[in-house]
Amino acid sequence: MRGTLSDRMGAALLMAPLLLFLVLAYAWPFLGVVKWSVTLPTPGLGQYGALATDALVQSVFIRTLRIALIVTMVSVAAAYAITMVWVRGSPAQRIIAEFCILVPFWISVLTRAFGWVALLSNRGLINTWLQSIGFISEPLALVRNEFGVIVGMTHFLIPFAVFPLASAMRSLDERVLLAARGLGSSRMRTFWTVFVPITRSGIIGSAMIVFVFSLGFFVTPAILGGGRSVMIAELIYLRIFQSPDWGLGAAISVVLVLFVGALMALLFRHVRPKQLI
C-alpha cells in the first residue's frame, strides 16, 4: 500500500529508533570491518586479491555452500512435513508438532551440539547400539565430518524453516483442495499440483532463511566438524583470533556479507516480506 507523502514520513519516523539501532549495532561495526579489509596489513585491495587465489579459502567457501545447500534441502523438506501436521493435523497432532517445534528453542545451541556428539561419536549411543545388535563391527564415522555438521545444523534450523511455511499453509483456502479432489484429482496429485505450488512463497522464504543462516554457522560446525569440516565462519574466527591475519579475515567477512545481501535482494524480488512472517 502506498500512502501519501506525509503517511510515508510518519512511517519513517516510527521506524527511526529501530533504524538507528541497526546503524549503531550493525552498519557502523561493519564499516570498521570493511576498513580493516582494505588497510591491514597494508592499504589496498591486496587481501581481496589473495582471496581470489587462496586455495584453502576457496575450498572452505565451496564446502560452506555445499553444506548450506544440503542443510537447506533437508531442513525445508522436514519442516514442510512438520508444518503440515502443525497446521492441518488433528488437535492432538497439532499440540505434539507445536511442542517439537518450540522445545529446541529452549535448549542452547551448544548443549544441542554436544548432545549430537554424545549420540553420534564412535562410542556414542548410536554406534554402541548398532554394534551391540551386531549390525556393524566397526563404528560408523558419524561425527567430526560433514555428516555430523549437516545433522547438527539441520536439527537447529528446522524450527526456523517452519514459520514461513506455516504462514503460507494457513492462508491457503481449504476449498481449493476440495475443488481439486472434486474435479477428480487424487490426494497425491492434489498435494503436488495444488498444495505445493500454492505454498511456494513459503518454501522460498523458508529456504532463504535456512540457507543464509547456515552460511554463517559457527558453533555447530566447530563442535561437530571437529576441525576437519571447517566452514566459513570458523575460518574467519581462525584468521582473526589465531593467525592473526585480520585483513584476510575481514575481507572474507565482507565477501560473505555481500553474498548474503545479494541473496536477500533476490529473495525480496520474488516474495514480499509479509509472506515470510
Binding site: 481439486a180 472434486g182 505450488p197
Partner: protein, 363 residues
C-alpha cells in the same frame, strides 16, 4: 458420476448426518431426475449445504444410501465421483492461469494435449472468457472468476453439476446476468444441476424443482409455482415470500375446496384438497389480494384500514389492519394505494377463491 456427457439420476435414501450431537441432516429421501435443475433452498444451518457436500463426496453421511444411476456411491470418494462443483468463493487455483484452471480436470483424466486444447478453447468461448486465457484468477473480476469456476466444473462433462451459493459474492445486476447464463448452460449441456441458495427469488427463477430445508429436514419438494402457491406448511409459505395469514373459523370441506368464516364473513376456497375441518389459517400472497370499495355478494373479502405504505416504483406495498386487528400487506397499483391511504378510509380486501390456501391452525 458416470460416463461423461450423460446427465446423472441421483437417489438419496434416508440420508442423515450428525456432527456430535448436532443433527445437520435428518432422514432425507429425495430423487433428483436426469437433467433437472434442482435448487436446495433454506436458511443457513438448514442442512442444504451438508447435503450438497454429501452429494460431492466431501462429507460422509452417518446413515442412508446414495445412488447414482442405480449404483450405490455412498462410500465412493470425491475424486472418483467427479461431480462438477462450483464453490462459494469459486475456489479457483490461484497459481494457475484461466486456461490451466479449466484444463485441470482434463489433465487429471489424462486426455491428449490436442483434446485438452480443443475442449478448453470451446469452454472458454462458451462462457465468454475469450482474451483472458493467460490471466491469473486474481486479475479477474468476480463475474469472470465465476465463469472460470463454471467452465472448470463443466469441461469434463460431469453427470451432475453441484453449485454452492455461487452468486452470493456478486452484485445484483451481475447476479441476474449470471443466473441467465447458468440457465443457458443448463439447457445447452443437459446436465443435472443441483444448486444451493438461501435466496428464494433465485430459487424460483432458476429451478425446475425446489427442495426447501429447515433444521436439517426436507420440508417440501416441487416445481416453483407449486411450492409458492401451495406450500406444505407455514415455514415454506413464509420462506418463499411475503404472505398474509388470517385466522379462519368453521372450516368445512366442500366440492373442490372449502367454506369458512373469516372475521365473521363467509368465504370460499377452491382447489385445496387437504382442507382441515374446524379452525385453520388462511394464507394469501400480497400480490393476490386487491383493494376495493365494496365486496360483492359471494366474493371473498374483509374490511380493513390502510395504516402505511412503501413505494416500490412499479407498485406500492400497502399495510392494512383488519377490523379484528390482523395485519395484512398487499401489493397494489400506486394510485390505488394513494386512494386507500386517505385517512380513516375503510376499504375492502378481496381475493379470488383459488388463491387462498389453508394451513393448519398454529402450524
Amino acid at each position: 458420476m458416470q460416463q461423461p456427457g450423460r446427465a446423472a439420476e441421483i437417489k438419496a435414501i434416508g440420508i442423515g448426518k450428525s456432527f456430535g450431537s448436532f443433527r445437520a441432516l435428518d432422514d432425507l429421501t429425495l430423487n433428483i431426475g436426469r437433467g433437472e435443475f434442482l435448487t436446495l433452498l433454506g436458511p443457513s444451518g438448514s442442512g442444504k449445504t451438508t447435503f450438497l457436500m454429501i452429494l460431492a463426496g466431501f462429507v460422509q453421511p452417518t446413515v442412508g444410501k446414495l445412488f447414482s444411476d442405480g449404483v450405490d456411491i455412498t462410500e465412493r470418494p470425491a475424486e472418483q465421483r467427479a461431480a462438477g462443483m462450483v464453490f462459494q468463493g469459486y475456489a479457483l487455483f490461484p497459481h494457475m492461469s484461466v486456461e490451466a484452471n479449466i484444463a485441470f480436470p482434463l489433465k487429471v483424466r489424462k486426455k491428449s494435449a490436442a483434446e485438452i486444447k480443443r475442449r478448453v478453447a470451446e469452454m472458454i468461448e462458451r462462457v465468454g472468457l475469450k482474451g483472458h486465457e493467460t490471466k491469473l484468477p486474481a486479475q479477474l473480476s468476480g463475474g469472470q472468476q465465476q465463469r472460470v469456476a463454471l467452465a472448470r466444473a463443466l469441461v469434463f462433462e460431469p453427470g451432475v453439476l453441484l453449485l454452492d451459493e455461487p452468486f452470493s459474492a456478486l452484485d445484483k445486476s451481475l447476479r441476474g446476468q449470471m443466473q441467465a447464463e447458468m440457465k443457458r448452460l443448463h439447457q445447452e449441456t443437459g446436465t443435472t444441476f443441483v444448486f444451493v441458495t438461501h435466496d428464494q427469488s433465485e430459487a424460483l427463477a432458476l429451478s425446475s424443482r425446489v427442495a426447501i430445508f429447515n433444521h436439517g429436514k426436507l420440508l417440501q419438494v416441487g416445481a416453483p409455482d407449486e411450492v409458492y402457491d401451495r406450500p406444505a406448511n407455514r415455514f415454506v409459505a413464509e420462506f418463499l415470500g411475503e404472505i398474509n395469514m388470517l385466522p379462519l373459523k368453521g372450516v368445512k370441506r366442500a366440492d373442490d375446496g372449502a367454506t369458512a368464516l373469516c372475521e365473521d364473513r363467509a368465504i370460499t376456497l377452491r382447489g385445496n384438497a387437504e382442507a382441515v375441518n374446524g379452525n385453520a389459517i388462511l394464507a394469501i400472497r400480497p400480490e393476490h389480494m386487491s383493494i376495493a370499495r365494496e365486496a360483492a355478494a359471494g366474493e371473498n373479502g374483509i374490511a380493513a384500514t390502510a395504516v402505511g405504505s412503501t413505494y416500490l416504483g412499479a407498485a406500492t406495498k400497502l399495510d392494512l389492519t383488519t377490523r379484528q386487528g390482523a395485519k395484512v400487506t398487499v401489493s397494489v397499483p400506486n394510485e390505488v394505494a394513494a386512494a386507500a391511504l386517505i385517512k380513516g378510509n375503510s376499504v375492502w380486501l378481496t381475493w379470488p377463491a383459488e388463491k387462498g390456501f389453508l394451513l393448519p391452525d398454529g402450524g
